[in-house]
């Protein structure tokens, strides 16, 4: 059977939900006629019509606001930000209003904000950022980032069915670099459940997004040196699967926290907080964070490669921690 890419998996997921539920609609810049900057919404205009596939003016705050209003009034918007970086333009609407509706007045906001994020595409400071943390930090939002085509489809479907606002971060580098056969049967992937991608006994790497693949490659390399590495893919950043995080930490007693996002204020700290508080007795070594350095995302290849955590970086730290 044919393999489905990550980008196509997301497209299928949205498509299926639009077939299933006519309150679901997509909205954003260039999503209708053009089919979206990354072609996620391609063909939807023709199938679902311009009431449900809506090109907007260039106005992120307006788009998020409109989505939120539509969600209040009974629809299930799936909004596209052309790049995750520009979600910053709708930051107030997302964090100050949408996130708080349920708490303030019991109003559900069943809205998905999709945003192509991440680097390794020579996108530079404005088209490569990992923007999860401000949203992870905002109570009321859920945050998801799939690392595989299977999860991408299952999670976008779950996100659309979810009754809370979900920030759905798609990794641009994974769009076309990962693919797999998908089930013919319908399925969803539950929000809030991490997945063990590789079992291991010496060291755990906890990661998400593209870095899961880096972790798996590093684990493979480490295996050749006799180090058994477990890889946990968080998949959902809010709510975090604390159980899975603590389970793997307790199992291996040595943990590497890996993300593509910059170090300071990144999710690695949150994970360190959880583990160092709740699995302290189990730890046999420092919690090692591997992340991009605290700089804007550089453009040029030599710099971007140095910026992004690499398989070698991970193997080196794994080796070090193993010896600890």
């Amino acid at each position: 059977m044919a393999e489905t890419t990550y980008v196509e998996a997301i497209r299928q997921g949205i498509w299926e939900e639009m077939e299933r539920d006519d309150t679901v609609f997509v909205m954003g810049e260039d999503v209708a006629v053009y089919g979206g900057a990354f072609k996620i919404t391609k063909g939807m205009l023709e199938r679902f019509g311009e009431l449900r596939v809506v090109d907007t003016p260039l106005a992120e705050s307006g788009i998020v606001g409109a989505g939120t209003g539509a969600a209040i009034n009974g629809l299930r918007p799936v909004l596209e930000m052309q790049f995750a970086d520009f979600m910053a333009c709708g930051f107030d609407q997302i964090t100050n209003f949408a996130a708080k509706c349920r708490y303030r007045w019991g109003q559900a906001i069943p809205m998905v904000i999709r945003a192509p994020a991440g680097g390794n595409i020579h996108g530079g400071p404005f088209h490569s950022q990992n923007v999860e943390m401000p949203y992870v930090h905002t109570p009321g939002l859920k945050v998801v980032q799939p690392s595989t085509a299977y999860d991408a489809k299952g999670l976008i479907k779950a996100a659309i069915r979810d009754d809370d606002p979900v920030i759905f971060l798609e990794h641009k580098y994974l769009y076309r670099s990962v693919k797999e056969e998908l089930p013919t049967q319908e399925y969803t992937v539950p929000i809030g459940e991490a997945g063990v991608r590789r079992e291991g006994s010496d060291i755990s790497i906890i990661s998400y997004g593209w870095m899961v693949h880096v972790a798996l490659e590093a684990a493979e390399n480490a295996a050749e040196e006799g180090i058994s590495v477990e890889v946990l893919d968080l998949r959902t950043l809010v709510p975090l699967d604390r159980q899975a995080i603590l389970d793997t930490a307790k199992k291996t007693s040595k943990v590497v926290l890996l993300h593509e996002d910059t170090l300071t204020g990144g999710l690695g700290g949150e994970l360190a907080g959880i583990i160092s508080e709740h699995a302290f007795d189990y730890l046999d070594g420092p919690l090692v964070r591997i992340a991009a350095p605290d700089t804007p995302v550089p453009f040029s290849d030599t710099l971007e490669r140095a910026f992004l955590p690499s398989v070698e970086d991970v193997v080196a730290k794994v080796r070090w921690l193993h010896r600890f």
Partner: protein
């Protein structure tokens, strides 16, 4: 500032309708007065305190036209819009006092209230943010082919925010059924209109969106009613958004703690002569056979209602701390 077009009344305003105007304007005035000048100073109200004193005609003359399926996004000076939608003084007072039975269960405070069932979006504190929200509410109406409309309320200051621009523009491009009621009360906090914008009227700003706009005397509930009627018919008929600039004045500080020294006395005096409640009463006396005693009776009715509500609210429980973490997310 150009003067509002003199209202040329086309509606036959009957006594019944005017009494409803009167009732809601008075109820808002007296309820806010009680909150600001009594309960706030007595420390019974928690947090800040914003009133729409002098601006009552705006929510009343417009919201009274709303149907159950419509949505409203009031500003912090539109308490009467909530009252008209059936939200009670009891609920409002409990909200102001931070009680568990307030509209936000004590989670939010003062005018930051609304109600999903009665289709009032609670005030969004980020000024201007309600404009795109109104767009989305209206989008859903168009999506389902309804003839409902959104009543969006905001102030002059809001019109400087990017959200205002993005929201108005999208509504125009998408032809959404929204009636914008802008209360131009000459100030945004301490900032006078000429530091807010270089043009004379907010309506001048609206022309650039292809949205019809008109200017009305914001203290004349009849004029607002008529303009709103035109606007609502326009929007219900699928002709898109409509903007009404209501020239008015904030007859109070920005909030209870603000003496508003920056407002020239002359301006305050000038506007106090244009009190919207007095204006309506004058009309009722001159055209509908009302007399002073009617107003005294009405005021008593309103004050009694408020006193009862205050008593009730003061006995309401504070929120149980055990509920602190409820409702951040949907129940699993």
């Amino acid at each position: 500032m150009s003067t509002p077009a003199v209202a040329h009344l086309q509606t036959k305003f009957d006594r019944d309708l005017c009494e409803r105007f009167h009732y809601y304007m008075l109820l808002m005035r007296e309820l806010e007065d009680r909150i600001e000048n009594k309960l706030y100073r007595q420390g019974k109200v928690v947090g800040g305190c914003y009133t729409g004193r002098g601006q009552e005609a705006i929510p009343v003359g417009s919201a009274i036209l709303s149907r159950p399926g419509d949505w409203l996004t009031p500003s912090h000076r539109d308490m009467a819009a909530l009252l008209i939608r059936g939200i009670t003084p009891e609920e409002i007072l409990a909200q102001y006092m931070g009680r568990a039975t307030g509209l936000t269960k004590g989670r939010d405070g003062n005018m930051h209230m609304g109600c999903a069932e009665r289709h009032c979006v609670p005030i969004i504190s980020s000024i201007g943010a309600s404009i795109p929200i109104a767009g989305g509410l209206a989008f859903a109406m168009r999506y389902r082919g309804e003839s409902n409309v959104v009543f969006n309320y905001s102030g002059d200051g809001a019109s400087s925010r990017g959200d205002w621009h993005e929201g108005l523009n999208m509504a125009a491009v998408m032809n959404l059924p929204i009636v914008y009621l802008c209360n131009n009360n000459l100030y945004a906090y301490s900032t006078p209109l000429d530091k807010q914008m270089k043009v004379a009227d907010i309506a001048d700003r609206v022309a650039g969106y292809g949205i019809p706009a008109e200017i009305v005397n914001g203290n004349d509930v009849l004029a607002i009613y008529e303009a709103s009627k035109r606007a609502v018919e326009h929007a219900r008929a699928g002709k898109g958004p409509y903007f009404i600039e209501c020239k008015t004045f904030r007859m109070s500080g920005h909030s209870a703690h603000d003496p508003a020294d920056y407002v020239p006395n002359q301006l305050r005096e000038e506007w106090s002569r244009k009190d919207p409640i007095l204006m309506l009463q004058k009309y009722m006396v001159e055209n509908l056979g009302a007399d002073e005693q009617d107003f005294v009776d009405m005021r008593k009715r309103v004050l009694d209602k408020i006193s009862g509500a205050v008593e009730w609210a003061l006995e309401q429980p504070f929120p149980d701390p055990a509920t602190l973490e409820d409702d951040v997310y949907a129940p699993a």
